[in-house]
Amino acid sequence: MLELRDVSSGYGAIEALRGINLSVGRGEVVSLIGANGAGKSTTLRNITGLVPTTSGDVVFEGVRLNGIPTHQIVGMGISMVPEGRQIFANLSVAENLDLGAYLQKNKVENARQLELVFALFPRLEERRKQLGGTLSGGEQQMLAIGRALMARPRLLLLDEPSLGLAPILVHTILVAIDEINREGATILLVEQNANAALKHSHRGYVLETGSIVMEGPSERLAADPRVREAYLGER
């Protein structure tokens, strides 16, 4: 469904990705783990066109995404939950969700999707009139995910959804991700919390200073002594 071939990308003179190869198949949950500054967020921002590709190809469902503006990529069926949530704090919860469906013209479908989002996160329905900025961190994360879902994406990119949340909320979010996947969306999950990410994904990639150093089924990665030492805090 999504393929990155030898993709390099970066900010000006700084090269954040050095020729990475990565693929995500339809229906999969793929996790991308690695330390701070390894290039995880850049990978996602590169797929959505927020950071330009300097060499290599990004291909989604047979279409090359290089150079296509972000809003058109979103229209092709890729949504992203950005790092740090980035909800619109000056807009109400309902307005945030409406913006998620900005490109979706079908009102009936949008209403149905809204119900699905509320079923997934009942908290959002209770707070629909509130300004986004008044929500707690966990609720903001729910809103960010709900907002991305409103576009009815076939591929959902999640950037550190568990960052800064209490353990119980991390669990809620991860269960929701499983649920989203079961309903048909393919997911590429970026996490520093390698333990949780590998538990909730089919396959994984390990990124180190802009290069992929390991890949494989999640169980195998979770059992690999190198991964255990570097990312799961064991020695």
Partner: protein, 353 residues
């Protein structure tokens, strides 16, 4: 007491005109974090467009001094001003944010027009100059010469100042540098209400300004495009991720703000009918002060800021000395920067990490 009420009415109508201009500054700042210095010249352009519409033979043949003629002049000026605003954004600011094809050809074409005029002073020479300029621009672009993409706010600010000079000097060239008299398109009547003399011009200014501001509020708060505007002004990248074509929303914002500036140009010209190509500078600066006073980026703030500046100015003339008329806005600017730099309704900028 009566003088005070009289001054109050004058101040409010003056202030509502400032508010209209201030809205353009504050909206563009909201989406681009840019002080659009060319905005005051769009205001001037609006006044001149109104002048030319009202003096056109078509207009004089079909319209007299009536409410309808006022509406025609107002709408015409607003549409033309908004087109100018969108052009400025497209060909001056957008290339400063990200390189777009055709920009070099456009600017070399304008440069060519200038050279053509200097060399030949005939329409043919100007046309040849434009053509030569466009050819040079296209060839340079083919060679890969593009405006640099790295956008720094300082660079765009300097572009804004350049556009402002460009418009002021083109205005002197095209419209003529000498002041012109703006025609009386609405009938002048003085109404006496409870001892106050209210002239129809000031009431029209106030009424039109209120209608436009209500309309703006509806657009910003209750339409899909307005919601997208608020999203873009809050977080550009997040807005892109919603599938919003941010360039189009930015252009729309320029168009909207410029239409209001054009309306402001007409309204002020109704009260003070002397217009010239540099007429925008001072009201533009005062409206900018109004936007800062209200909290730049905040639409309601700009409306209140405009009212306060207008009132302060009229009161300074009425109870102080008319020589301080133009100084009072800047006194307010100094005070607000000392006491509450974010403005009355502005929120403190929180740098998110």
């Amino acid at each position: 007491m009566e003088t005070f009420l009289q001054q109050l009415v004058n101040g409010i109508s003056q202030g509502s005109a400032y508010a209209l201009i201030a809205l353009g500054y504050t909206m563009v700042y909201g989406v681009l974090k840019l002080i659009n210095f060319a905005h005051s010249d769009v205001y001037m352009f609006g006044a001149f467009m109104g002048f030319y519409i009202a003096n056109s033979s078509w207009f004089q043949a079909t319209m007299g001094t009536s409410v309808l003629s006022g509406v025609v002049v107002l709408l015409g000026a607003m549409v033309l001003a908004s087109m100018l605003g969108i052009l400025i954004e497209r060909f001056a600011y957008r290339p400063g944010r990200s390189p777009s094809p055709g920009t070099l050809a456009f600017w070399f074409g304008i440069l060519g027009a200038g050279f053509g005029y200097l060399l030949g002073k005939t329409p043919g020479a100007v046309a040849a100059g434009v053509l030569a300029g466009i050819v040079v621009g296209v060839i340079l672009e083919k060679w890969g010469v593009r405006p640099r993409a790295q956008s720094s706010s300082l660079k765009i600010l300097i572009i804004a100042i350049g556009v402002s000079f460009f418009l002021e000097n083109s205005g002197q060239q095209v419209f003529g540098a000498d002041p012109k008299f703006f025609p009386q398109i609405i009938p002048t009547k003085v109404l006496n209400v409870a001892g106050l003399s209210l002239d129809s011009q000031k009431l029209t200014v106030l009424g039109v300004a209120i209608v436009l501001m209500v309309l703006l509020n509806v657009i910003v708060n209750y339409t899909k495009t307005g919601r997208a505007m608020r999203a873009v002004s809050f977080n550009l990248d997040a807005a892109r991720l919603m599938g919003i074509n941010t360039d189009r929303i930015i252009a729309f914002t320029f168009g909207l703000g410029s239409a209001l500036a054009g309306a402001g140009g007409i309204l002020v010209s109704l009260m003070y009918p002397k217009i010239d190509p540099l007429m925008g500078i001072l009201p533009g600066l005062k409206a900018f002060v109004a936007a800062v006073l209200g909290g730049i980026g905040n639409i309601t703030g700009a409306m209140f800021g405009g009212l306060i500046i207008g009132l302060a100015e009229v009161m300074a003339v009425g109870y102080g000395q008319s020589t301080y008329r133009d100084a009072i806005a800047f006194v307010i600017l100094v005070l607000i920067l000392l006491i509450k730099p974010t403005g009355i309704m502005g929120k403190g900028m929180v740098e998110k990490v």
